[in-house]
Symmetry: C2
Subunit: 212 residues, 2 copies
């Protein structure tokens, strides 16, 4: 059962509370929007996330105000949104967007176990590009020290999903107005090779054929 705080009230038929749906959205979305309160003011900051099992990890500089506030036990909200299409209805009122979103509430806990911290950093890298971690230089002790990692448990979350065509008022279907869905997706272009790439290093398929 969802908590009252994450139960979807507006258009509840769009709600989903099962972990498979929630996990799939969290894993596909490249970045999340992290909300916290500082001196009474809400802030919403885009940041990379990674889910491992029942934990949603975020990270940043040890000097970050955001991470400092969160590590102090402040309430947080992590929201991810995937845009799937524009829903062009016959009336202005029924225009919409096809999307999949997750809202996760909770309190962040700093990761202190060194193995969990490295696993989370591996998670961030592979969340960006599956398999990338195996090819790169891992963090040094100094880099680990300069990075704070926090997690939120996936205990209080809900998803909201809109799919399908526009839903117009009955009488509007007679109008001479084009209607349908324009699909949208985050698509990769041709990679831009670094000018300083060492001679003889080939482009991996995860870059040349990147897909989320």
């Amino acid at each position: 059962m969802p908590s009252p705080r994450v139960r979807v009230r507006r258009l509840p038929k769009r709600a989903a509370y099962d972990r498979a749906t929630i996990n799939a959205i969290l894993d596909e979305a490249l970045v999340c929007h992290l909300g916290f309160v500082h001196n009474g003011q809400p802030f919403v900051i885009p940041t990379l996330h990674a889910r491992i099992g029942d934990r949603l990890y975020v990270h940043g500089s040890s000097a970050s105000r955001m991470l400092g506030t969160l590590a102090g036990g402040a309430a947080a909200c992590v929201t991810v949104t995937l845009i799937d299409g524009l829903v062009l209805a016959r009336s202005a009122f029924h225009h919409s967007v096809n999307y999949r979103s997750v809202v996760l509430l909770g309190t962040a806990t700093p990761v202190t176990d060194p193995d969990e911290k490295v696993a989370a950093l591996q998670g961030f890298t592979n969340h960006m590009v599956h398999g990338r971690w195996d090819d790169i230089r891992p963090p040094t002790p100094q880099e680990l020290k300069a990075t704070n990692v926090l997690y939120l448990p996936l205990d209080e979350a809900s998803a909201k999903v809109r799919t399908g065509p526009p839903v117009d008022d009955d009488e509007d279907y007679e109008l001479d107005v084009w209607a349908g869905v324009v699909p949208l997706a985050l698509e990769a272009g041709a990679p831009i090779v670094d000018d300083r790439l060492k001679d003889g290093v080939c482009m991996p398929e995860y870059a040349s054929a990147y897909r989320r």
Copy 2:
């Protein structure tokens, strides 16, 4: 001068405070993430926005908890984020994302002037698809009544932008690791025509050749 609340502290060389940069990011991003506090808990909700001049409009059902909270004078944060690419460095530590984001702080004001309300609804529709408003059935008085429109003034905002290649540590440029940028963008696919489209209605170019 930016207020201390929106001044970018982490990586300040990525900051921009000019309205041209801020407007361009707000106008290109399809949706924003709206943060507010309810019973001490921050919430972050994706929603459509539209900028007209110096005002950033959001809207929703008159029954929405989010809009009710905001209309009551609660502090808000509107964040938009455009993802431009994956920055694949030679080390895990220097992996990054190319992005353009805006953070806007303020207090929302309900739009009560009927003309401004219709202009804002026109703004939402044309923010989705430029020129769409001229083709569709405009809102009825009942639909206008069922819709709340609020605005935040664009007084306290900052942008943050990362562009360009990875920046690696000097000694890492000798590694046999592929490095570069995988460009990402929200791209449109072939429109899905509504099954109930009236015979003889042609697909407009803003749908067949949609670009943000």
